[in-house]
Amino acid sequence: MKIVYDLFVTALYAVFVQNMVMSFGLGSSEAIRASSKPDRFISLAAMISGFSVATSVICKLIDMFTASAELPYALRAAVYGGVLAGVYFIAAFAALVIFKASKKAMGTLGISALNTLVFAVPFINNTASYSFANCIGSGIGAGIAFVLAAALISRGAVRLAENKDIPAVFKGTPAMFIYVGILSLAFSGFADSTLFS
């Protein structure tokens, strides 16, 4: 029961309390780019969660059975990077050979595996000394956090495009950055940060 509780609490923490995209900026480029394709949200969430969970669990096992958790960050990064590359190549090969994935699906697979959000999850787990259940929870939470951020950005992007009062110089990315900044400010409220001093 405790394992399930840990898993859910960590997932909820990663989605709402410290949304990895909005509060840390992890995978924010991909979230902004993905926001224009709402039809891909579910597949992106599943793939990001899958890659995050697989990478986190393997990295946790390596940390447990070797001394990698005590190594300098540079060597730890090399180990985690190698794990992510291995997981990506196996998943992409399986998708291509077994499931005959289309070019579009392979593109989505690449975006969902090779981004800062998925690569950061093992570092976060390591720094927070997460258990196995926590690692799985943070992996699942990463995928949901990404899609929540992309959906919020997508909704705002439609409103920004419809708004004719925005000056021409702010149309496009400037307005989008300011909108994402306001969303990020809302999530900062959960993190108990000092904004002015």
Binding site: G81, A85, Y88, T173, F196
Partner: protein, 267 residues
């Protein structure tokens, strides 16, 4: 008909300025938003992004043109890790100053930076090595400039210092050092860049006339006229003038809220 090959100057201007990777293409935001909260961190990140982009783009253009896209994507990660990890190792073990934890976590993430992947896929694998080199130089200049400007602004506003030297400002806005502050700064920097690009290179920027125009136009029945936004604001504001007794009432209520007299009247 063969496609026109762009000149080196054109590649440099477009890559660093008009299609700035961070401000216009929204790529590589993570290091800027999450870690570039001071000028020193920003300089370190800028160096790491530039070296990774330069080497990866040249390798992609020279060796990976015939490799399938999904394999190339994994190779970019391996190249990035092979560049970043030795640099980080040297910084961790040989540097006299202790590297902040945020940099130890975010520096390796540059290996999966979207700036590198986007430019390798959109430009390097489709062009000769020489042009790929120019493009990666332009991208490095563009992203480094944004990282440094953002780092400096965030350190000044957020911590009242620059490169670790105290500035003794009257107030600091700590929010500027948080990701939301950076997004808002990026929004204004993107608008400034867009205006300069439209003013300097109008033929290369779509809708440049509307961007450069400082006074918006509106239909008034007899055609399109320019509107002075400040005049309009002033006219609209003056329409909401309060009557004298309403002013008194308003100031009385403000006195009560802010307690301007410091409670001395009651003494």
């Amino acid at each position: 008909m063969s496609e026109k090959i762009p000149s080196a100057k054109e590649v440099l201007i477009k890559g660093s300025f008009i299609h700035n990777p961070i401000l216009i293409q929204c790529a590589g935001l993570c290091p800027v938003v999450a870690a570039a909260a001071s000028l020193k961190n920003a300089a370190l990140l800028a160096a790491a992004v530039s070296i990774t982009t330069l080497i990866t783009c040249i390798i992609a253009s020279a060796l990976l043109k015939k490799v399938q896209r999904w394999i190339r994507m994994g190779i970019y990660l391996i190249i990035g890790i092979s560049i970043i990890c030795p640099v980080l190792f040297l910084l961790e073990t040989r540097s006299e100053a202790e590297l902040p934890l945020v940099m130890k976590i975010y520096l390796p993430l540059i290996a999966v930076n979207s700036v590198t992947a986007v430019h390798c896929e959109q430009f390097s694998v489709r062009n000769p090595v020489k042009l790929a080199f120019y493009d990666s130089v332009a991208v490095s200049i563009g992203s480094s400039a944004v990282l440094l400007i953002c780092g400096a602004i965030r350190e000044i506003i957020g911590y009242s210092s620059i490169a670790g030297h105290e500035l003794k400002l009257h107030a600091t806005i700590r929010g500027a050092a948080l990701p939301f502050g950076c997004f808002i700064i990026l929004g204004f920097l993107a608008a400034i860049l867009k205006w300069i690009s439209a003013y300097r290179y109008p033929s290369l920027v779509p809708d440049s006339e509307a961007i450069v125009r400082t006074k918006p136009k509106k239909e008034d029945g007899e055609g399109t006229v320019e509107v002075d936004v400040f005049d309009e604001f002033w006219n609209e504001s003056s329409k909401t003038d309060l009557a004298a007794d309403e002013y008194d009432e308003l100031f009385d209520s403000l006195d009560n809220i802010f307690d301007f007299n410091g409670g001395e009247d009651e003494k």
